[in-house]
Amino acid sequence: MSEPLVLGFETSCDETGVGLVRGQTLLSDALATSSPAHERFGGVVPEIASRAHLEAMVPTVHRALAEGGVAATDVDAIAVTSGPGLTGALLVGVAAAKAYALALDVPLYGVNHLAAHVAVDELEHGRLAEPTIAMLVSGGHSSLLLVPDLAQDVQPLGQTIDDAAGEAFDKVARVLGLPFPGGPPIDRAARDGDPAAIAFPRGLTGPRDAPYDFSFSGLKTAVARWVEARERAGEPVPIADVAAAFQEAVVDVLTAKAVRACRDQGVDHLVIGGGVAANSRLRVLAQERCDAAGIVLRVPSRRLCTDNGAMVAALGSRLVEAGIAPSGADLGADSSLPIDVVSR
């Protein structure tokens, strides 16, 4: 029997993603984004994102099928992000996936967005070594997970107690007059800066702090205060240095906690996913620290780190292979779906 052909839908935020996977092989990854429409608001506006998902849905499915060189009737199973994310946005994808599953008479899997960020790495680097530690960092989430079995056993170790890592990048970019989303422009600006120029705080790194939780709100405020003080003194703001020092503070905490989680849990594999995993400094520092600690690091290519449909298809394929029961006919969206619910 040939490996299952899985169509995956992702609409949890501002990217309409439809991806196609056969087994663990990536066939296509069609994406439409409403990101530019949110730029002037400094963050994703849920209603704008939801309207864009509806408009983009059918054309994006067509692109995914065409690029994958298959017909809709070839699809063996459908997977869709059912949470966490923005409710109105999630529901467009869930409704579309349910309709395709009904029309094509194939099973439907409602999956967890975070687990899908882990699963996507298998499309590039093969089967995960389980257990693995996973760190997911994006504009919507910052989590450390222990993954004994990606198809059915994902355990939360820690998460952000305030802002997501990517959110801090967006807010600091705004303070520095850089465009939204803030990750790529800060990454670029930081290349010409000195990461040691300013000592920004490392949140939740004290001996009594929760070892796997994150906090980026204080860091964001510290950056804003520092920039304001400069401006009040009539001095120019060294954007490259601020960007580099801020970025260093974020990736220092992220990588230190991820490596500590591996050590504490006795796990020698780490996978990093989510939009912030596209950050060049995070990738370099994570590699250095993993090498020093004897940990095997896996990070998907930048294209697959950010939200996309292929990651959902990849997890769906895993579920089919593991013989997990498909979702019930009454599948809906859950904006705060707990991370330990891989599928529902």
Binding site: L54, G88, L102, R174, R232
Partner: protein
Amino acid sequence: MPEQRQLLWFVVLVLALDTATPTLVVGLARWAPGAAAEVLAERSVASGNRHAELLTPTIRAVLAGAGAAMADLGAVVTGLGPGPYTGLRVGVVTAATLADARGLPVVGVCSLDAIGAGLRTVVTDARRKEVYWARYGADGIRLAGPAVDRPADLSPTPPVVGDAAFGARLGVEVAPAEVTTAGLLRAAAPQLADPASAAPLVPLYLRRPDAVPPPLRKAVSQP
């Protein structure tokens, strides 16, 4: 008689659905140009904000109830609202994708057109203490609307049908009425007769998204 012959060949099974109001409506009808649709099965579900959960199971139940299969369908009709956006989109995207997967024509209609019949004003809940409304002549043709307004700013021409909860605020009696399959088919008839003329499936939002650009930068420290 080539025209009659064409009519005989032009009988299609139409799946109709609407999620513009708290009542989810799914129906199956036999339709031919120039004739009233024959509703074979219909379900109205007081679904509230659970349209996404209940829509496809309801479609399945309606098809099963009529002894029909997906493969028997010839067209899909959906209400385009106006209605609360999140629920409304569930119906519109379901109709669009279902039709796409089966290679069927899909037709969108104003949901208010499918509530009541003949001379009337239709009102439904637009939330935020406002109503969606439209006014129709004796021939059932829409004369005004769809629009969204505060009840206090409207003086609707009786008879008024739709969401009876707004009677007091409108100062008129509102006869309770909901979207029906027959109403959806009636509104869709011109487009069903010529599917190539069907407009793109764009919901009748009537309001812009609530979003205000933030100030350029918020001061965090006191000077």
